[in-house]
Amino acid sequence: MINRGITKSVSFFKIIYCLLAILILYFAFLPVLSVVFSSIFAQGRGISFQDIAHALKYLKNSLIVTIPVTFAATALGTVVAFTLQRLRFRGNQLLKLLALLPLINPPFVGSLAFIMLFGKRGLITNKLLGLTISPYGLAGIITMQVLSLTSLAYILVSSSIKRVDPSLEEAARNLGSSSGRILSTVTLPLMLPEISSTALLVFLASMADFGTPLIIGGNFQTLASDLYIQITGLYDIHMAAVSGLFLLLPCLLAFVVHRYYLHQKYYSSSNIVSENIEFKQMPRPLKAVLTIITMLFTGVVVLKYGFIVIGAFTKQWGYNYSFTLQHLTGALTADLRPFINSIRLALIVALVSAILGVFLAYILKRNQPTAAGIIDFMATLPAAVPGILFGIGYLVTFKHPFLGIGKWVFPDAKPLVLLGTSSIIYFVCIARYLNVGLKSGYALLAHLDPNMEKASYNLGENEVRTFFRVTLPLLKPAFYTTFLKNFSTTMTTLGAIIFLLIPSNKVAVQQIFQRITGSEIGVAAAMGVLLSATSLVLLGIFYLLFNYQEIIKKMRSRGSWD
């Protein structure tokens, strides 16, 4: 009887798996393929020598930005993470929180704040130091990207630092190593796999960033921003497609190299999560240097975001710093639907991508179905594709009916065209962020005892019921982290959806982008602040909802002590 139950539920998982596989093939993989094909075969015009020369020029620019940014942001993020997680000093906890700030804000407004502070007539460079240096160009892009991507690196590396077994450092110390030697021979090498995946993500984010070069690049543009200009300014979709191909290739290359060569080994396989383990006997000068670097970094971050708030509440950013609420009321009385749309988009995308991602991780890891490797690859691939390109992939794929293949099969099935419906941005975001759920699902499953499920079968439950009653509750943490992460990312995403929006379904980030273009800087800043505040409040609510049991427990135990 039990046997029959398992066979039945196996087929249940098989059906779900097939369904998911098909969806991933269509919504995650096909658009990437489309980008490649459309650039090679677009509009009857092949790739010419000039096209390649043009693309190569911007590729060079992209790499000039991305390579130093990747190194600097990863290194700085590692330093900040190590300092905040492993060293003890005053204000440590506060800095931990502040270093996260850039994650909840759309990047465009940050670039403006940067100009106001460090521009030719910037508050710091000009008014304070008497310099007139132009922030536009390479240095500006690199600085901005390093600032925002260091925060990303900080978060990713932090989690790996927590998983370094402190007894290894004790062993090294016991075997006679000085602190410096422990750092270089044990602590850092152990973090290296995670640092390399962090570097990959920083690399991809930097390559994909079109907003920063656009706003402060001056005449220095990268492949991503050139792509945007090609489409919006030059009406040249063909050139854009060629640029897109050249943008895609290094990203895919980095992705594949990382996936199949660098990512082979992970040292933190044990369940150890060591919160707040101090790195002891750090030589004073080194500790001082690390602490100062960290404080400087968080200082600049706070300066930047504080300045955005100032911009939102003063008359003329940069000229007249008298208090006003006019920008805020301007932002609030403007059409609020984009805000609501943003929230709705983020909610649904976070919910669906977290459920599907974690569920898929479960099926791939536990049931080990056919083609698991391929499905995993296809589902993870969109993470490597710059958002704006992925959006273009959707554009060229889903302008044809019936999920894109109807071009040949059902040329007249117009109602099934996805392009131009308000649902397309949901699909694009879910496909793009599915991998986040997949990854946290894997991470959690690696620590879950497979015998747990066997125990449930032994007690007479079938696979489906076991999944819902045993596995699902255990997978909840992965679901929660994915939800929170994808919610905040989707709230500020623009690249992937910018070419897919329709008039009745605008989102807040796009509104901010428009305001910046229209030099309504105060309103843009106010909207930015409003958007951040909204995400922050919602994230807080979700966090409370997900963790209320622990929080109550904590409060109770604290109450009993006092």
Partner: protein, 359 residues
């Protein structure tokens, strides 16, 4: 108990977010309804049928929103708009045409050259609105593919604080941009990606003649530290003090000047470029009649008046009272304009420009 409570709260938030409908943006009550409705008419208008209908509109600015709200007040037809760059609109319309999907019904605001381009590609529907009879010939397409609604005028955004600080001459004519103090302080967009800059080049070439024109442009290039991607960038740079003079395009309004004390809008005394801001009906629209009503309304005295007052725009009709805060085009020297020629020679002019920039 608590668990139930919390999950119901979560559910509530979800439901609220999912069902949250439009907080109906109250239409502007500034313009008197009863009077306004006598100033327009459309043979395609059917109040009962069209009430609650919704049209989609592409454009290059969010400033059209108040105009669309008054249109809704007058007709009951709601118009949703999406703001994009000229090229993006063109690209989208091509895409949608190819895919056979109809998203946009209307296209309002943007550069005339993109409209001409789109008309040639067959992306627009021709419609001769009776209201357009009073328009000048260069303000409308002979086949009715587009109608000009207002003028976009090339002007300079000047940071007066910096002019004073550096003791420079306030620029009045084009040659003033070449003064030594403005080296690296003039901001201009890239003509390849911005209609504003392209228009400036063609205008200069048309008025000064090929040879003298290129000599002037070469000197101008020397003054510009870098060419921005978008036409709106120079204005932002000047406002932020990153440049002193920015070559800009506007409707004839003085909004930047009003908003920022240190900014002045200058119309060069020896002439400036211009182009019409058209409206057009997108081919393939499922709501052709309602779209026609919009064009009729917009080109009517009523519509033009609204455009003048809400956009502070120098409008296409001559029979509209010019509200405060708009430049009177009669006081401005306009370069002669040949948009068609400008659109046709685009590639060769841009190639020549690129050659001189790279020199």
């Amino acid at each position: 108990m608590l668990k139930k409570l919390i999950s119901s709260v979560l559910l509530l938030i979800l439901v609220a977010a999912l069902t949250a409908c439009t907080p109906s943006s109250a239409p502007d009550a500034g313009l008197d309804n009863s009077e306004g409705n006598t100033l327009w008419s459309s043979e395609h208008y059917d109040a009962d049928k069209m009430k609650g209908l919704s049209l989609n509109l592409y454009g290059v600015t969010d400033k059209v929103r108040p105009i669309l709200d008054i249109f809704e007040q007058d007709t009951g037809i709601r118009v949703e708009h999406l703001t994009m760059k000229n090229g993006e609109i063109l690209q989208r319309l091509e895409n949608e045409y190819e895919a056979g999907v109809s998203i946009a019904d209307l296209w309002f605001t943007g550069g005339a050259d993109t409209f001409i381009n789109a008309a040639e590609k067959g992306l627009l529907t021709g419609y001769q609105t009776p209201a357009a009879e009073v328009l000048d010939a260069d303000m409308k397409d002979p086949d009715g593919f587009w109608h000009g609604t207002s003028l976009t005028l090339v002007n300079w955004v000047v940071n007066t604080a910096l002019i004073e600080e550096k003791g420079l001459k306030m620029p009045e004519e084009w040659n003033d941009l070449l003064q030594d103090g403005l080296k690296d302080e003039v901001s201009m967009s890239n003509p390849a990606s911005s209609g504003t800059a392209y228009n400036v080049i063609t205008s200069v070439l048309q008025t000064k003649g090929e040879d003298n024109g290129w000599i002037y442009l070469e000197e101008l290039i020397e003054q510009v530290p870098f060419f921005t991607a978008r036409g709106s960038d120079p204005k932002n740079l000047v406002v932020n003090g990153e440049a002193i003079v920015g070559i800009n395009a506007s409707n004839g309004d003085f909004e930047v000047e009003k908003e920022y004390e240190h900014i002045k809008i200058v119309y060069p005394s020896d002439g400036t470029g211009w182009w019409p801001q058209p409206v057009a009906i997108v081919k393939g629209t499922q709501k052709l009649d309602a779209a026609k009503v919009f064009v009729d309304w917009l080109i009517s005295k009523r519509g033009m008046q609204v455009v003048a007052e809400k956009r502070y725009a120098a409008v296409a009709r001559g029979d509209i009272e010019i509200p405060e805060g708009i430049v009177d085009i009669k006081n401005i020297e306009l370069f002669p304009a040949d948009f068609k020629a400008g659109a046709q020679n685009r590639e060769s002019i841009l190639a020549e420009w690129a050659r001189r920039v790279d020199k």
